[in-house]
């Protein structure tokens, strides 16, 4: 069984209010390391066996149409064992 991971991030030039809120909260809690924070989301999709090329193509399609909003977001598909 393999896990296909889709990571979705707002494009770098798009405003990320959630990331900003985290960045503002960190120093309040004493964490002073962060220069900037961007927040995204991660999907873990389990498939039987090793994913086939056709399955990966399908996942790409799903990532583009459902899991991400390509107008303002980018996605990355990875396979984890």
């Amino acid at each position: 069984m393999a896990t296909i991971v889709v990571e979705v991030m707002l494009k770098p030039e798009i405003l990320d209010p959630q990331g900003q809120a985290v960045a503002a909260a960190l120093p309040r809690l004493g964490f002073t390391f962060a220069k900037a924070v961007r927040q995204g989301k991660r999907f873990e999709i389990e498939v039987e066996g090793t994913p086939t090329a056709a399955q990966l193509a399908d996942i790409e399609k799903a990532a583009e149409t459902l899991l991400s909003n390509p107008v303002i977001e980018t996605y990355l598909v990875k396979v984890e064992a």
Partner: protein, 745 residues
């Protein structure tokens, strides 16, 4: 890339500039060269291109819109007129109200959620900028056919965006419209209205006076959002479809806006600003040039001081960025410390980016290098003006009258009525409006589906305002001059039906391409009709918005002038609701019915447009409004007859409280018979219920105002009975309420 400075522009006139890509025409570019006496720098070109776009300069509409000034009725209520961020009217007791409606159509097509959300954010800032506290929003929305795939792409996002942003701000959404028509496929209309309230003495204007005063940018940091959004998104059709260097999507942050509202109101309360302007379309280009040209003219800006979210932005991009939740204020140096203190309290970034100067030039430097040196008026107000060709469209000569079935049996009454009230345009819109918070702040008196939205302004005196937005685009298609008049009259009637007195008008004119002479004719006729009716009704236009280029290929949307009317009610506890409250009441129709099927929803069901719009009878409408206002204490309920005619009004009035009605339609005296009585959309009619003991008093008033009054029947029971047709309310409710959840749920 080396910085394109003013000196560089003067020394290198031969540089080829991308004026065409920025949406400028050849003669416009030549005119900029003439104004400056040299070629513009890259930054100047960015500013001119964005400020001279259709969206910002109103270059195609200006020649027509000036009628609103020429035909303006005298009004003591108007405190601030067209030209400022929003008009302001006096509603008595020392209160002033400001309201305005704007479009965010193209951005909502590209990214429905964020487009609609930032549309709400933008109009709220316009209202805030006048010194007012925003108190309510409304959103007239128009979509392609309810079963079209693109409608399913855009509608859920747009509705969620309107709700998401407005709900986060804590602003009640008290009404609007949801309309479906094939011409809006690929061109949804997202219009957003906001109303705000202030004391007379708190009115703020967008002006930069006083040499040495500081220019302060406050609110969110500037990023790459919506660069070129104004010139590219709002002024060119999507066919051009070039990949933009930066995304044209602005992302809203409603929490940042909420903080900005509270911060600004505290700053206003201490009278710390000379002038103020929000940053919307065209961002800093617009704010600096408009503030400067409304003042003495001189301003210097150090652009590198603008706080950036994305440090890679070039000066041109900083000038054009449409990052949301930003404001620009002019402040006396002595008041800066207190201003900064308040911003710090609210955790709002505020930065001095320049000052008002003695001269008449807007000078912008970047790290000490002069990159913009322009007369601000030429950017903000002296843009190109086009008197575009106008031609009556050919379609008007090939219109055909409606040909609709007779409704002559109980079965036909029932089946036609159920078909109509379950059609997407007439069906219950709760699926949409339930996503909006309509009670937050605790001052909402009436909200959708009532005839108008109403909010209380003063808790002690119960003074309130009512607002309604209306458009019948099919009538405007058939007859744009009368269509605009009818929309305004309907809006006034909706206001008066709830018990408020119409006071002022705003508008959002949505049209196809102004380069199409037919569209331009529709626009010119609409503006002429609107200006005439405002003069005839004595209602001032406080401002508005024009949205052109709403078309896909060569197909323009129906001409859609959305009219918003604001009214005043002295005591909101006396308002009239639309729902029948109890059994045993007499039902009357005020006003006469004729066979006005052209442009009606019933004809639309049969795919017919018809051939003419009704001719408005203004004198009769005024008499009806006066009757509604004087007879208000006698009404148990009142509901305007408009889309879907009497059939829709009876459905809504009975279902509201689950009280049935028994109606006997005379039919014979109405041209068109029972079909017309039920489905005709003759303007100037209201459905009312009265206690039998008040019948005589009402009849006396109706005679006084010469308003025809027809007894239709009596309330009660758990069915809507029309002649021999019996429709149980449960069946009626299912038909009326299940359509939208079925389509979009």
């Amino acid at each position: 890339m080396a910085l394109d400075t003013v000196a560089n522009a003067a020394a290198h006139p031969e540089v080829v500039q991308p004026w065409r890509e920025l949406g400028l025409k050849e003669d416009e570019y030549a005119r900029i060269n003439e104004i400056l006496g040299r070629r513009p720098t890259a930054s100047e070109l960015a500013m001119y291109s964005v400020m001279w776009s259709e969206h910002c300069s109103y270059k195609s509409s200006k020649v027509h819109l000036k009628q609103f000034g020429e035909k303006a009725p005298h009004s003591d209520a108007l405190l601030v007129g067209i030209g400022e961020n929003a008009g302001v009217v006096d509603i008595g007791q020392g209160y002033a109200v400001t309201f305005k409606i704007e479009s965010h159509n193209h951005p909502s097509f590209v990214e429905p959620y964020q487009g609609a959300a930032t549309g709400v954010g933008g109009i709220v800032r316009d209202i805030l900028t006048m010194g007012a506290r925003p108190i309510a929003v409304m959103d007239p929305l128009r979509f392609g056919p309810a079963d079209a795939p693109d409608t399913h792409r855009v509608l859920p996002g747009i509705v969620a965006g309107v709700g998401g942003y407005g709900n986060c701000l804590g602003l009640p959404n008290i009404g609007g419209e949801v309309v479906f028509d094939a011409t809006y496929a690929g061109n949804p209309l997202v219009n957003a209205l906001c109303v705000g309230v202030m004391r007379h003495e708190d009115i703020k204007l967008a002006t930069a006076h006083g040499t040495g005063n500081l220019v302060v940018l406050f609110g969110a940091k500037t990023g790459g959002d919506g660069i070129g959004g104004v010139s590219v998104l709002a002024s060119e059709t999507f066919a051009s479809g070039k990949a933009a260097k930066r995304p044209s999507v602005q992302v809203g942050d409603p929490f940042a806006e909420k903080v900005l509202i509270e911060c600004s109101l505290e700053i206003f309360a201490e009278d710390l600003v000379v002038g103020i302007q929000d940053l919307g379309g065209a961002g800093l280009s617009c704010a600096t040039s408009e503030l400067a040209s409304a003042g003495s003219g001189g301003m210097s800006i150090q652009l590198e001081k603008v706080p950036l979210r994305d440090p890679s932005l070039s000066p041109e991009e900083i000038l054009m960025s449409e990052s949301q939740e930003r404001m620009c204020a002019i402040i006396e140096p002595a008041k800066l410390a207190r201003f900064m203190q308040i911003c710090k309290k609210w955790d709002v970034t505020a930065t001095v980016i320049g000052e008002v100067t003695e001269g008449t030039r807007l000078e912008i430097t970047f790290n000490g290098e002069l990159i913009v040196d322009v007369p601000p008026r030429t950017v903000a107000h002296d843009g190109p003006v086009y008197n575009r060709p106008i031609a009556k469209p050919a379609y008007l000569d090939s219109l055909t009258p409606t040909s609709l079935p007779a409704v002559d049996s109980a079965d036909a009454i029932k089946s036609e009525l159920l078909k109509l009230i379950s059609s997407p345009n007439i069906a219950d819109k709760s699926w949409v409006t339930d996503q909006y918070d309509r009670y937050v702040q605790g001052n909402s008196v009436l909200a959708q589906p009532e005839d108008s939205g109403m909010v209380r302004i003063d808790e002690k005196t119960n003074l309130g305002v009512a607002i309604s937005t209306d458009a019948n685009a099919r009538w405007s298609y058939l007859d744009p001059y009368n269509g605009a008049k009818l929309a305004l009259l309907e809006s006034c009637r909706n206001i008066a039906t709830t018990g408020a007195k119409p006071l002022a008008v705003t508008n959002c004119l949505n049209f196809g391409s102004p380069e199409d002479p037919g569209v331009m004719w529709q626009f010119a006729e609409t503006v002429r009709g609107l200006a005439d009716i405002c003069l005839e009704m004595g209602l001032p236009v406080t401002g508005g918005n024009v949205s052109f280029y709403n078309q896909t290929g060569s197909v323009a949307i129906l001409p859609t002038p959305v009219i918003g009317v604001l009214g005043v009610i002295q005591d909101v506890t006396t308002r009239t609701k639309m729902g029948i409250p109890a059994a045993g009441l007499q039902i009357f129709q005020l006003g006469n019915t004729a066979d006005n099927f052209s442009g009606s929803e019933w004809a639309h069901l049969y795919g017919q447009m018809g051939d003419h719009a009704p001719t408005p009878d203004i004198a009769a409408e005024v008499r009806l409004i006066n009757l509604l206002l004087e007879a208000q204490p006698l009404f148990e309920s009142a509901h305007d007859l408009s889309d879907g005619g009497l059939a829709a009004a009876l459905t809504e009035a009975t279902l509201r409280n689950g009280v049935g009605a028994t109606i006997s339609l005379p039919g014979e005296y109405i041209p068109g018979g029972v079909a017309a009585a039920l489905f005709s959309e003759t303007p100037g009619r209201v459905l009312i219920t009265v206690d039998p003991k008040n019948h005589e008093a009402l009849a006396t008033l109706a005679t006084k105002y010469e308003v025809p009054m027809h007894e239709l029947g009596i309330t009660g029971g758990d069915s809507l009975v029309i002649n021999e047709a019996v429709i149980p309310l449960t069946e009626l409710r299912t038909a009326h309420t299940e359509t939208l959840p079925r389509l979009f749920g």
